[in-house]
Symmetry: C2
Subunit: 259 residues, 2 copies
């Protein structure tokens, strides 16, 4: 099932998408809801981000190829994380499918996409184990962890490198039914494939992360965990169209402009 | 004016506190609201955190004494930040005044308070300058940035060192009218003063941070920015009572237990 959030006549609703229609939902998928008898064609509504996270987690470095190849480019030794230590991103930076990534005028040319699988939490979760972890996941969406690499290297934190307004496209849908091991992440700039990797080929998997995290913290319905990217992301620039496809979920498309 | 949030008969309300009464408010201080004719004695309600942040910022290292003395203890060179680079904390860790800080059973003894001034944003803010920055602040509250120093040193991120459930006491009130330069932060453990410093004696001030941040990101009503701590925080342990007083705002009190 594909869940979305959309704007119609200046109100935001959850909806269930069955191509080509979105059925409007009263309530939220994280609590009680019922289907309305209203449905709209996808092209007649504006999609919003599919969930507003209460906490926005991102795991960073989580694919072996990414570690090795990025280290080679930077002329440093690649360090594989020893444990699943999660990081954070910020809601101000989130934009939906089709909205524009705006590169600030003082950013360098060294600004890149990162195509990521996003886990959406469905139930309050503490002290998960590998048997019950999957019951607490609502579904999966797609994120583009846009990163300004000079700021990432030189600032004391990732605040503007990763969380400048518009740097976190997320969407278009949350898919509740997927076979994780069959997924591929395919990234295109201006219709040209730049990367194509096995989505679930992670250093620490979803279960590793959620079990470790919930030993110390409570996850809440609507929290999102961005699972990192593989390969070596390429620069994006004014006029580009970036597409992150994860097979079985959908394709997140965003144009890029330089301020 | 002192704003709070409180639980009464299993519902959460904003309130205005005028000792000894809390007047219940219909609506929120960040939008439209009106005073109800209901008021309660402080001791008859349970205070909640005074605001649920949409994004939870924390500036980290922001006082000269703290940098120098912490570096000396760690046997490293103290590095004064060159620019106001903000970090993040997470909502799961927030607890109100009087609620218990719970130290996980596998935490070290090296776990410490940090008494911090908290800025609460009142209006949508982008591209602030030093003339209009103060108009966008709703008020100020108090935070205790509890930190497990071994995890802080050894993990790849601050996730459990700083964001374990219960590690972020915040409250009790948001004070809208203060004279920043007159404030002192006084920290007591079991009624004994451990630190007493000038609250506004920061490396980068509130205006520096908000102007730099909003060059790249939008701040929203209810966002909080924790401004860092001075001096050398001491260890806290099972059975302790930690009090963070900021003169003119109030006193945030939390007991500590080891799990």
């Amino acid at each position: 099932m594909k869940w979305c959030r959309f704007e119609h006549k200046k109100e935001i609703y959850f909806g269930i998408f069955e191509d080509p229609f979105i059925t409007k939902v009263i309530g939220t998928p994280f609590g009680n809801y019922e289907l309305s008898d209203e449905r709209y064609k996808l092209e007649d509504v504006k999609l919003d981000i599919p969930v507003v996270p209460s906490t926005f987690y991102a795991v960073g470095v989580n694919y072996i190829n990414h570690v090795k190849k990025m280290a080679k480019i930077r002329g440093i030794e690649g360090i594989t994380p020893k444990s699943p230590d999660v990081g954070y991103r910020a809601n101000n930076a989130l934009i939906p499918h089709n909205e524009t990534i705006i590169i600030p005028k003082d950013a360098s040319e060294n600004i890149q996409y990162e195509g990521e699988l996003v886990v959406v939490i469905g139930k309050i979760a503490k002290n998960l184990d590998k048997n019950n972890v999957w019951d607490h996941i609502f579904g999966y969406t797609i994120g583009n962890d846009v990163s300004e690499r000079n700021w990432q290297s030189n600032d004391r934190t990732l605040w503007r490198a990763k969380n400048t307004d518009s740097f976190k496209p997320m969407g278009p849908y949350i898919e509740t039914d997927i076979d994780l091991n069959s997924l591929r992440t395919i990234i295109r700039i201006n219709n040209e494939i730049k990367d194509d990797f096995k989505t679930n080929d992670m250093i620490f998997g979803i279960s590793d992360y959620l079990c470790k995290m919930t030993k110390y913290l409570t996850l809440y319905p609507g929290d999102v965990i961005w699972m990192g990217t593989d390969e070596v992301p390429q620069n994006i620039k004014d006029g580009d169209i970036v597409e992150i496809e994860i097979t079985g979920i959908g394709t997140l498309i965003n144009p890029v402009i330089k301020e």
